[in-house]
Symmetry: C2
Subunit: 358 residues, 2 copies
DNA sequence: ATCCCTTATTCAAACGTTTGAATTAATATC
DNA sequence: GATATTAATTCAAACGTTTGAATAAGGGAT
């Protein structure tokens, strides 16, 4: 397995070399090595002779030449809207892990949540003949949905945003269910005066989570006092929910409305809330329980560690790859893989930031 | 006979199309559009005619065909040793941002700190004809250095680890200086009993930072009590410093040795330390000031926000790209760009976790 | 010998570029 | 008028594959 230090003229081994070595034509070698349709006629001895020689010479096919010939690049694009969002870490890991088991490699681009950058990158990726695209509109402001529409030409999977065009699959989580579960958790701990930090109205996930929260409230007969349900403003990027969480919580505390638990739109907002409590001399969870949403890596690092609704991000990444591959394969065969829409459950992860009401 | 059955009416525009349109040969078009050496002979009118037509038809060169011809892939690899390390976020942003201004696109791979995976990925990247490689051995256990040696064939830049082989540039930070500055900060705040959480011995940065700490201690005549200088064990990955920081700090507190400040190897260790204080009912910074190192995104999220030595990670990423491009360009011209070793300063970022000794 | 199957293998044309060398035409030099 | 020089453009080969069509080599059966 060790390669002796080859001298400089280390030309790569091509089909031609293998052909010359075995005294057979280039075509034959190609046919054998690809086990292509024609190979079923080939005599067994040629086949093994070629295979043996290929191995001996260390032949590896040139993906570039191959791409040129058959319009396959063995590459998929990954468009992240905001790569500094900690939400992406686990997701990327899942994508990368699944992808590398296949013949595909990812081109990861960070769009900075700008439509024009998206288009520029899309053009780049398109030129490179990417065979599929995974889109992660992790902080999709309004424009994003329109942006995505333009892409007819390549199989797509969207993660996190239920965006089901017929040629475009999506992987989402049950945001409403998550909202319900989160509130249920606080309720079961005995809390009744519960503050809510809703996400911005322009984010779909906000509306869904809020819907789930309302549903539980209604079903359980729990009154949600509008005075302690705050809504975030529209924010420029995902990371801003931290500051916004801080701001709203400070505000909340200054109104003197009592509450014993707080449900935050996401983990960053929850972290911001905890900071606010901290700064005002309150303690979490003693004075107030806090629950987040997402389970970003931060969540277990802050003090106290954060109870949250865990998104199965690695799984979502892997699943997006899987789905994308099906689309690609179908397209190769001239068919169309009908777009699917998969929704995953989120899971309550109890850490230290929530506690029973005394 | 012509082929009427056009499969895709959306056939991409090639040089041939532009040539046909302008009544000139393919070569000419290529020469004009590349402004290649031969183009200085071309008549101005042909040139503008071609350029105009190319624009009108929306010609874009096919990177794949181009790669095949001239062995350039316009692609660089980025090998991250541990992509879940929050240290990478800002770095990636810097790399990506700088790269996208050029003609290059990144293939980002996460090696999971395993030598064999590194080799497998390297092979993949090599096959893809990457023109350069950025290596981020962000938690390089012993083996890594050897691993890197094998790569003779492509321009390389290593980030974060002073690894100066003659064909390989590196971007590092002044770890020793950072250690010095960090301790100086605590000292200037009036702290004299200072605990230190040293990084694992097998990590180069640990040794350097410790050296800087010792230097300040000597210069300032500050005694560092060995009883409160702990050293981390060898750890499997970067994120483990959190737990290790927690563990060591708990231990530290149990020994009853008094100290008023703590200098942690990195931000995660500092976060672990803060958690430990928190769990034992101590308050940061009231009972003890804590300083970290790196300024990962977490640092401003934990409570209290973390005073730390900020690494200019975006800049390092951008700089690595810049350096890599010089290597690549030199190689294209048949020269060799002598490897350079750039060291950047780290900057003290005072937040809320450090405070003057009452 | 002719015809027709198989079976095993090769031809040759693409894919879209780049580029040293060749070609042509026009102009200057002797 | 012959020749060299220059300018403007094109030829043609190459990069390493893939693959439908063509070929060749063996049989039989008539």
């Amino acid at each position: 397995m060790t390669k002796p230090p080859q001298k400089h003229p280390r030309r790569t081994v091509t089909l031609r070399d293998v052909a010359r070595e075995t005294g057979v034509s280039i075509s034959t070698v190609s046919i054998v090595l690809n086990q292509s349709r024609l190979s079923k006629n080939l005599s067994v001895q040629t086949r093994i002779r070629v295979e043996e020689a290929a191995r001996r010479l260390g032949y590896t096919p040139d993906p570039v030449a191959r791409s040129l010939k058959n319009r396959h690049s063995q590459t998929v694009g990954v468009m992240i809207f905001d790569i500094t969002d900690p939400y992406c870490t686990r997701l990327l890991k899942g994508i990368e892990g699944a992808l590398v088991k296949t013949q595909f490699l990812p081109l990861i681009m960070s769009v900075q949540n700008k439509a024009d950058i998206f288009h520029r990158y899309w053009k780049l990726l398109h030129e490179r003949r990417i065979e599929g695209l995974i889109i992660v509109p992790n902080w999709a402001t309004l424009s994003a949905e329109k942006v995505i529409e333009g892409l007819q030409q390549v199989p797509c999977v969207v993660i996190g945003s239920a965006h089901s065009r017929d040629h475009m699959s999506c992987i989402t989580i049950d945001n409403a269910g998550g909202g319900t579960k989160a509130l249920a958790h606080l309720y079961e701990l005995g809390h009744r005066a519960i503050a809510v930090l809703r996400g911005p109205e322009n984010i779909l996930a906000s509306r869904l989570r809020w819907r789930g929260i309302q549903k539980f409230s209604k079903d359980a007969g729990l009154h949600l006092d509008p005075a302690i349900c705050m809504e975030m403003r529209a924010l420029p990027d995902a990371s801003s929910t931290f500051e916004e969480g801080y701001r709203l919580t400070s505000e909340l505390l200054s109104t003197q409305h009592p509450f014993t638990a707080l449900l935050a739109f996401d983990d960053l907002a929850a972290a911001g809330a905890i900071r606010a409590f901290h700064d005002l001399g309150r303690s979490v969870p003693r004075d107030c329980s806090v629950i987040g949403f997402d389970d970003i890596p931060h969540a277990q690092l802050i003090s106290p560690s954060l109870t949250t609704m865990r998104q199965p991000l690695e799984q979502m990444g892997a699943m997006s790859v899987e789905t994308l591959l099906m689309h690609i394969q179908a397209k190769d065969e001239g068919k169309i893989h009908k777009a699917v829409s998969q929704m995953l459950e989120v899971e309550l992860l109890v850490r230290r930031s929530t506690t029973p009401r005394e």
